[in-house]
């Protein structure tokens, strides 16, 4: 008897914990989006309210933009090179190798450029931003800003969002140019494609819309990456360990956000609806 009762209690507690866990899994992303949205609104309004601290914006743009040029170029080069390698070899089997540059250009401008650039910015600048704000939080520097009647979101978050908005499209353009160069180098110099045909096809097939589509995406990703990094840093708790967790979460959440937003924006621009 007692045995049966105990088992049923066990099952009940187990069920409750499974259900709470499931509810948490479903609700957490919504709560997270709510937190991000609140920070976004507050930061955007703060941009247009005095005082205007131009220096903070310049510093943030320098940190996100200039600081990421090297790593973005490097990854761009290898991305282009590997695309050239794969496409020329495989297209040759069906006699389509001359289309390589068109496919490379299209893929880079619309998808690979913005996504890869945003991922690189997130892992370099986003993680550093989360760590920076996180350590400011746990060492009371954010509280110190508040006691000096300085709006911490305005001081810390607004410039970083603007930096993401402005620099990620520029970095994407750099990524694309370097990647096309990488593809050209491999296709023409290594795999003996005709340089004239490579460039002509690229010019003819790549439409201006492809480029603007990619740059708009890049701006959205840029804001998302910086917003997520700031949110994780700003709400850090639990000392140095908490800073580590915040940094880690900033990168993981950014990657998810980039890919999810990429799907949404692509679907919208193709006029297909979301699903």
């Amino acid at each position: 008897m007692a045995e049966a009762e105990r088992t049923s209690t066990q099952i009940r507690t187990w069920l409750t914990s499974v259900l709470t866990e499931a509810a948490r899994l479903v609700l957490t992303p919504f709560a997270e989006i709510g937190t991000l949205y609140k920070m976004l609104v507050s930061a955007v309004f703060a941009i247009f309210r005095p005082p205007f601290r131009v220096g903070n914006y310049v510093a943030a743009i320098e940190f996100v933009g200039i600081g990421s040029i090297f790593i973005v170029s490097l990854t761009g080069f290898f991305t282009g090179a590997v695309l050239g390698l794969q496409l020329v070899e495989n297209f040759r089997k069906v006699g389509l190798e001359n289309q390589t540059s068109a496919v490379v250009g299209f893929g880079l401008a619309r998808e690979l450029g913005p996504v890869f650039t945003a991922l690189m910015v997130s892992s370099r600048a986003g993680s550093a931003m989360a760590a920076q704000l996180g350590s400011m939080r746990v060492s009371s520097q954010i509280d110190a800003l508040k006691t000096m009647a300085v709006h911490p979101i305005q001081y810390l978050v607004s410039p970083r969002l603007v930096a993401g908005l402005v620099t990620v499209p520029i970095l994407t353009a750099i990524f694309n140019v370097v990647a096309v160069f990488g593809a050209w180098l491999v296709s023409v110099k290594m795999l003996a494609l005709d340089s004239g045909i490579f460039l002509d096809n690229l010019k003819q097939q790549l439409q201006p819309e492809d480029i603007t589509h990619g740059l708009v995406k890049a701006s959205v990703f840029g804001v998302a990456v910086c917003l997520i990094a700031c949110r994780q840093g700003y709400h850090t708790s639990g000392g140095a360990e908490g800073v580590g967790r915040a940094t880690n979460r900033a990168v993981v959440h950014s990657a998810i956000a980039i890919l999810a937003l990429d799907y949404v924006l692509t679907a919208l621009s193709l006029g297909q609806g979301l699903f």
Binding site: P51, Q132, S135, M136, S139, S140, Q141, D143, A144, K146, T147, M148, A149, V150, H151
Partner: protein, 264 residues
Amino acid sequence: MKGDVIVEVRGVTKSYGGRAVLHGVDFDVLRGKTNVIIGPSGSGKSVMMRQLIRLEEPDGGQILFDGVDIAHAKGKALSALRRRFGMVFQHSALFDFMNVFDNVAFPLREHTKLSRAEIRDRVFHRLETLGIADAAYKMPPELSGGMQRRVAVARALVLETELVVYDEPTTGLDPLTTRTVDELILEAGERFGLTSVVISHDMASVFRIADTVTVLHFGHVIASTTPDRIMDEVTDEVREFILASGVSPTSVMRGRASSRDEGP
């Protein structure tokens, strides 16, 4: 306890995640005086300070600042209010992306229209008083803990706000620097009519600077009186806490009275 009261704390409560830290705290802060708060580690002193300067919103109770309840101030009112407070945080909280000079100049640049030269003069004056002018162009992480604390004191005093809260300003400092910081707290109070609230563990320092002493014991105020009466008004437990520091209040206070008399 009589005197001109600047802040009345009445029944302030605060919990974090269901765990109560402050259980209805009452005390008065006297205008132009040095109000010291003592109490064992973890008793909620830092939490009380965060409510007092409205860094956080208390769950319940009132904080009357010049008769106005600030416990739930918001927006512009809150921002105006914060400009009247200065704070020295327990772990200094210097901006680690700025050098010492910029840290101390920060409140001036944010809230005054002083010229570059005036800012320079004021900042260096503060740094010199505290003996850290040599470190003006160093970054905070390059400084020792004691030097960081002094920079934090300089930053809190540079605006000459009405009320300055010091969270353990002398913990971990050598005796000589402790004395300098104590003197600075007193001097700032006397010169600008500033009200100081000081959290401290250092009993010698407490008896040197305190006009009033409030004992916070795990979220309750168990005594709030003048330092010469503290030993009579507290429980055995607190008396033991004070005596454990090896300082007897009377001896230190006699020292303080005579050193003050010698002044100009």
